[in-house]
């Protein structure tokens, strides 16, 4: 196993190398020029511009440029944002907690609900409950997530009043929407208690994210459970007189959860990338927005930073998924 992990880690190096070339290449052919901001500045003469270009190594051959970039990146110098002129690392460190907070809660919530629902749905296959669950999962797969977010705002923010407006919990006098349509905290004159405020702002974006993930996780859990339930060892467990509860929880669950474990391991890197649509609709200052705004403004240092971190995470968690699989299923041998 150790040898397998080491081999996989070594294999990851060339993959990361190619990824870095692709990231670098995309940015190289991109139209924007980081010095474009100076072009219309009357205090900077064309000669200055040429000198700056020379100084920043604009006219270096491409492999020298790549080498300069990658060696700095490996040393932890990710450069400054073209737009805010602050270090890329600072930009990312500022946004990441917000994303983790929103996506992490949605992720855990979806998981905690999906596991029991998927299991019950499989155990009572073809029951009314099962039909309802599979239909819901199918709809969740087909619904455009951003539209779902807009519907949440239309129904629960624009057209519903908060019944507690003006009370100790929500000092803001009525009319107050049932849930806010965006933002992380109340910036108004009458903010609610900080804890209430946080939860109040989380409800709609978390619902939007969680419902979507729930639909996917339920399918995996149900399918995993259905695969396991008709195996011989489950029949044996029943035959030796174990109670249904023990059969399901001790014998079936571990094996049934395996597909879900892989899916989850592959999804964790996305927690870093943020939930672009949710963050956009609910004006949540997370990683998704950071990437999106950087792409819009041609802030390539930030873009490269995010792409490199997220590619590394994806490769790493792919390995974690494979290893977790081997731990859960002793029949799998990697040598």
């Amino acid at each position: 196993m150790t040898r397998y992990i080491i081999r996989r880690l070594i294999q990851a190096v060339p993959v990361l190398f190619v990824v870095s070339i692709m990231v670098f290449g995309m940015i190289q052919i991109a139209p924007n020029n980081p010095l474009a901001a100076y072009q219309n500045n009357p205090n900077i003469t064309p000669e200055d511009l040429l000198r700056l270009e020379q100084e920043y190594g604009f006219n270096d051959p491409i492999h020298i440029k790549y080498f300069k970039w990658i060696s700095q990146t490996l040393q932890g110098n990710w450069g400054d944002s073209f737009v805010t002129h602050r270090p890329v690392m600072t930009e990312i460190a500022e946004r990441f907690p917000n994303t983790l907070y929103l996506s992490g809660i949605a992720f855990l919530l979806a998981l905690l609900i999906a596991i029991p629902i998927g299991m019950i749905s499989a155990i009572r296959q073809y029951s009314l409950f099962d039909h309802a669950v599979t239909t819901f999962a199918f709809m969740g797969q087909s619904i455009p997530i951003f539209w779902f977010g807009l519907l949440l705002i239309i129904f629960f923010s624009a057209n519903m009043q908060n019944p507690f407006a003006g009370t100790a919990m929500f000092p803001h006098p009525a009319p107050l929407p049932l849930f806010p349509g965006g933002g992380m905290t109340d910036l108004g004159e009458y903010p609610p208690d900080p804890l209430v405020d946080r939860i109040w702002h989380l409800v709609l974006p978390v619902t939007m994210l969680a419902v979507f993930q729930l639909a996917q996780h339920v399918r995996y859990m149900r399918a995993g459970m259905l695969d396991v339930l008709y195996q011989d060892y489950i029949r044996t467990a029943h035959a030796k007189g174990l109670r249904e509860r023990a059969v399901i929880l001790k014998h079936a669950f571990k094996n049934a959860a395996m597909p879900l474990v892989t899916v989850i391991a592959l999804e964790i890197p996305n927690l870093f990338n943020g939930a672009l649509f949710t963050e956009t609709i609910f004006s949540w200052p997370g990683m998704g927005r950071l990437f999106f705004n950087s792409a819009e403004r041609g802030d390539y240092t930030v873009l490269m930073g995010i792409l490199m971190i997220s590619a590394t995470l994806i490769i790493f968690f792919n390995l974690v998924a494979d290893v977790a699989y081997a731990f859960l299923d002793p029949r799998i041998r990697y040598d």
Binding site: V18, V19, A30, F138, S142, W147, L150, A311
Partner: protein, 305 residues
């Protein structure tokens, strides 16, 4: 013939009937109710998208400022938007673009994915290894991120021919979607190329090109058809998502995605501008997904008696 019993007739009919994979699949598909419903809804949507703008003789782009934000009524069944344009007709006009983008992106992604998968699976060895590593690396990059960066590049006209109209979005969607197909196709090719009939064809003098195209491909079609159906739905959602973010098809050309983008700032007082375009996306995508589901069941080789 007059003496033939009912059983005999049935038997002769069964013998005469040319059972192909597709005729069997059709018999199974007909029994899959959600898939049939999906086909029906989709046909209705496509026909409406084609004919409603023609028969109503209403210019969907023309603004009527006195009629802005009209709630749904008999005259405007889905209300009007901020420029007084009829939402139903505009949605159908946008639907043409959305469906066209979805279908073209699917065709491109499936063609490229099948090509890569077929070459990898057939030749194996270093060809297979490098192609599949390439697919892996593409999977390593977050889809939305590639889409946004690539969209910017294409729109800036880095490659002249590809920056016009719906071309950029079609390419972007295809680039982010071919990998899954190539894996499926590769797996089929790996197993089919070992079958006896391939050996027989080779003995009969068939060249590699012929084997790949005429002998293996028809037998690898089932998973490709299913993947293609599901890919249309996925492509439509991606198009809508990118247009919603402002990176897709640009106004004034309407698509369901950029209609939703406009609706974002108006939905508090004109919720119909957000509800209907999204509903059309949802109906289209769920129809394609149910059809794909039905095809997966119908094309399952275990059905073949």
């Amino acid at each position: 013939m007059t003496h033939a019993t009912a059983t005999q007739i049935a038997l002769t009919r069964a013998a005469q009937r040319q059972d192909t994979l597709y005729s069997i699949a059709w018999r199974h598909f007909r029994k899959h109710k959600p898939a049939l419903a999906g086909t029906f809804v989709l046909a209705l949507l496509v026909l409406s998208a084609i004919f409603i703008p023609i028969v109503t003789n209403y210019d969907p782009g023309k603004t009527h400022l006195l009629e802005k934000y009209m709630p749904p009524s008999l005259e405007h069944p889905m209300g009007t938007d901020g420029l007084g344009r009829d939402m139903l007709i505009r949605s159908m006009d946008g639907g043409r673009i959305s469906l066209l983008v979805g279908l073209s992106a699917m065709l491109l992604a499936i063609t490229f994915g099948t090509l890569v998968g077929a070459l990898g699976g057939f030749y194996g060895g270093i060809v297979d290894n490098s192609l599949m590593r390439f697919a892996d690396i593409m999977l390593t990059m977050p889809t939305l991120f590639i889409a946004i960066v690539l969209m910017q590049l294409l729109r800036a006209g880095v490659i002249p021919f590809l920056s016009a109209g719906i071309m950029p979005i079609v390419i972007v969607i295809a680039v982010t979607r071919w990998m899954g197909v190539s894996r499926l196709v590769r797996a089929s090719y790996l197993s089919i190329k070992e079958k006896e009939f391939i050996e027989a064809a080779r003995c009969a003098g068939a060249k590699n090109f012929r084997l790949i195209l005429n002998h293996i491909l028809p037998n690898a079609m089932s998973p490709i058809i299913v993947a293609a159906t599901l890919a249309v739905g996925g492509a439509i959602i991606t198009e809508a998502g990118l247009s919603f973010l402002g990176f897709g098809v640009q106004p004034p050309t309407p698509t369901w995605g950029n209609m939703l983008r406009n609706a974002q700032s108006e939905m508090e007082y004109a919720p119909w501008t957000a509800i209907f375009p999204g509903l059309f996306i949802f109906l289209t995508v769920i129809s394609f997904n149910y059809i794909g589901d039905g095809l997966r069941d119908a094309l399952n080789p275990h059905h073949v008696e």
